[in-house]
């Protein structure tokens, strides 16, 4: 079955030429010299006022990176990146350690206003109090420009600050966890990130604390010829809970820009981390000029017993996406979940999916992935589910569907399912025939047409995925809710 009209319209409304966040902010910037060298790394480290061990860590990563080769196994193609033609550090000049929002360049504040990101706490409080409040860390190119609700979070014992600040203020905590989920040597882009990362968020939730509000980081690439290399580290100590959301946009430009981030999540005993992404980087124009290369390593470590990590992503942006948010299910009874909707348009290329690595006993994982390809785009789901020898009682359920609109695009599924334990039960399916005849009959009996009934049932299912997103940011994703997946192919 081909896609229904409603779906086509919905996808069209977020097509590449409809990109709304493509404006540019003109502020005076301070940059590191172009290119990558030990000196640039020393420059970044000095700018951040880092301790010696951090600089050494970066330099070791850089040395390692020089010996590595760019991976080419993903189903994406692009011209070779000249790593010496990129600025690795760019920060607004007036942003030399602002004490409050008043010291931040008003141009930047206006930018976030335009993007609809609340940076002023009182503004949120003045109006009708929303159901839930959100603390925001706003990252502009290479630096964090503002972090809201820090004081209120501190009362609960929650640390939420730019990682560069955390390295100075809580060096022991950072040192204990940084690089323990994504090792410095993990892969080409992660190693590059380890050498040159500039900002990102650091979150620590103390034992037994339920984080009193949503945390979020908003990434904005603004400056020309810069790469953004953010690093996020979230630690949920025993019995704690946190929900975190990241959003990202960039101006329209004709050249490609590199975004190579590393996100590490650590959940200790009984802790839960929900990590949601609304990825809306500039996707390039209809001819495939420009756009962000989104080469990201995201990994969560369910280190403690009964811990839970949930990844939810709504992916509509980027010229090329190369990203596999994963869970290492180390603790017994731990759980990993991955919910994804990836929509590709124009000339976009998406190679995304997840890895669920079952190490502990009775670990469970669930993967729900929906890929929608339109225009001339390529949309690939690539996922690994593996059970190691000791993962007795591991369970996985995977469901990945894809939908094509038009016949110039491609949808691909590349799952890897590896089991080394007899008691592990893995199920993988990629069909839309999961709508039961009973459900269809029930709906039709009440006067709904075939299409309406299918839409209703499928939407009910997709909503499950989207409800994983924090309310405040679900708006963007809501547009996709009504996308019917009728006509899906496996």
């Amino acid at each position: 079955m081909p896609a229904v009209q409603e779906t086509i319209d919905q996808v069209r409304s977020i097509d590449v030429d409809q990109y709304k966040y493509g404006f540019e902010t003109v502020v005076e910037m301070e940059k590191a010299p172009k290119g990558l060298s030990e000196d640039v790394i020393r420059f970044i480290s000095a700018k951040k006022g880092e301790p010696e061990w951090m600089l050494q860590w970066r330099l070791d990563a850089y040395k390692r990176w020089l010996t590595m080769q760019e991976p080419d196994w993903a189903r994406v193609s692009y011209d070779k990146i000249d790593y010496n033609d990129i600025y690795y550090y760019a920060a607004p000049k007036k942003n030399q350690a602002p004490k409050s929002l008043d010291e931040v360049d008003p141009e930047i504040l206006r930018t976030y206003e335009k993007l609809g990101i609340p940076l002023r706490e009182q503004e949120i409080l003045a109006g009708v109090e929303p159901e839930r409040r959100v603390a925001v860390d706003a990252v502009f190119d290479s630096v964090s420009v503002a972090t809201t609700f820090k004081a209120e979070l501190a009362k609960a014992g929650v640390i939420f600050m730019p990682i560069s600040e955390a390295i100075r203020e809580y060096p022991d905590l950072v040192r204990q966890y940084l690089g323990t989920v994504v090792p410095v040597t993990d892969n080409f882009f992660a190693t590059l990130n380890s050498a040159v990362f500039t900002d990102g968020s650091f979150v620590y939730i103390p034992p037994g604390v339920r984080c009193p509000m949503e945390l979020s980081t908003y990434f904005r690439i603004n400056e020309k010829n810069t790469g953004q290399f953010e690093r996020t580290l979230i630690i949920a100590d025993k019995g704690s809970y946190v929900s975190y959301l990241e959003g990202c946009t960039a101006p329209k430009r004709d050249e490609n820009q590199l975004h190579a981030a590393v996100v590490e999540l650590i959940a200790l005993d009984d802790a839960e981390i929900k990590y949601s992404t609304v990825q809306n980087w500039y996707p390039g124009d209809a001819e495939g000029r420009g756009g962000i290369y989104n080469f990201v390593t995201k990994r969560g470590d369910c280190r403690g017993r009964n811990s839970v990590i949930t990844w939810t992503q709504v992916e509509t942006g980027s010229a090329i996406t190369w990203k596999y948010p994963s869970c290492i299910l180390r603790g017994d009874n731990s759980r990993g979940e991955f919910y994804s909707i990836a929509v590709s348009n124009g000339m976009q290329q998406v190679d995304s999916g997840t890895k669920m690595i079952h190490l502990g006993k009775n670990t469970t994982s669930r993967i729900i992935s929906k890929g929608i390809a339109a225009g001339k785009s390529e949309n690939t789901y690539r996922g690994l589910v593996s059970a190691h020898r000791k993962a007795t009682g591991a369970r996985n359920f995977t469901n990945c569907d894809s939908l094509l609109i038009g016949n110039e695009c491609g949808a691909h599924t590349v799952p890897y399912i590896e089991s080394k334990n007899a008691t592990a039960v893995f199920e993988h399916e990629a069909t839309t025939s999961k709508i039961s005849e009973d459900q269809m009959f029930y709906c039709q009996q009440r006067g709904l047409s075939d299409e309406e009934a299918t839409a209703l049932i499928v939407n009910g299912f997709v909503k499950d995925v989207l409800q994983q997103l924090p309310m405040e940011f679900a708006v963007e994703a809501q547009k996709l809710i009504s996308i019917s997946l009728e006509g899906s192919v496996g």
Binding site: M1, P2, A3, L66, T67, M68, Q69, W73, R389, S402, L404, I405, G406, N407, E408, C409, G410, A411, H412, T413, V414, P415, Y416, I417, E418, S419, K420, N421, A422, T423, A424, V425, F426, E427, H428, E429, A430, T431, S433, G487, V489, G490
Partner: protein, 437 residues
Amino acid sequence: MAEIKLMKTPAETGLAQAYETVKTTLPGDAQSRAQAFELFTKNGLPHRRVEEFKYTDLRALMREAAPFAGTPSADEAKAALQDTKALSGVKAIQVPFVNGHFVRDAVDLGGLPEGVEIVPLAEALASGHEWLAKLSPVSWANQNPVYQLNTTFMADGVMLRISGEVDTLIHLRFVTASASAVATATRVLVLVEDGASVTLLESHESTDGANHQPNDVVEMIAGDRTNVRHVRLNAEGDKALALSTLALKVGAEAEFFSLNVVAGAATSRHQVFGVLNGENTKVRINGTTMLKGGQHADSTLVVEHAAPHCESRELFKTVIDGEATGVFQGKIIVPHHAQKTDGRMMSAALLLSDGGTMNNKPELEIFADDVQCAHGATCGQLDEDLMFYLMARGLPKKEAESLMVQAFLGEAIEFVDNQDVHDALVNVLEGWLRARA
């Protein structure tokens, strides 16, 4: 960032030496062999960093290259065939190969039933037979290193042409009989004319205790409105490293069925490369694999829907005992124009022991927007509830297990419509279960 150059392994060096030794004696066009070997040498034996061989690292699994077997004498061939058992209860025209060479004395080439023609390949290669132009029907199979090796070294085989409805079964019997390890490269080309139908059997046997290295390729061009049933049994010896390829091109409104049963070899890899080249064709490719001890078996499958309105069904069942490793890699490709394609691929694995491993990779590559493609993969142990149910009715544990394994594997064998063949395969299955108990 310097390119990392891999050292040549002893097996690769051995293959290069073997090629130098035999290249002047091999029949036919030397250029295509040289080309194939050049392609092979460029990349060497595939290893785990080569995506298609991720789970079957031939560089590690093939320690040494066994010498290529010479042509057996008439007595040797006769003796070798006497010892063979695989599918022996099934009445069929026997087309035997011993150590990679067609045993001409065993077949009355002039007295074949109507619609069956057999041409020995070695002679055809030497004389430049016109059917040779039909070799390599699946162009992209040439990129495959296992296939390249067969093209380089193929010494003998047959070309088979089927026209009309052929009721008699044809049994291609591949036997490797030698106390010391030998390598073979046999090639069979099957041409099924428009409207023809046939049932082909393949059995592969080799002597236990020797590290034989057979590499067989069966190629088939099935025309429009053909109906082909193909059953293959791997009953190789316990030390063999068996590589095999089925390259297939099917025309319009045809039906094709293939089943590969793996019961032997230390290491095996069976590759199916299929192209559905005409509209309204139905293809079913099944696999049944039984593994124990340290066995390793790989089923790799690529099906290209090159025409619209075709249907393909793939069902692979794997049972793993001991420390064995099962691999399933399947891929359905649907290009832009292949609208209304209906493809379904399923791989199910049963792990009977704690030491077993199953690797599944069911892949879809879809460019057409009005198609139905599905794939599924499961992996697990025997259902405890069902076991309890059977044991509550007085069945000992082993018997209950056997019953369930039989039911599990039976699903893929069910599709064999010839009763004798079906029964012979069930015998193989039961034999495997008995050996386990």
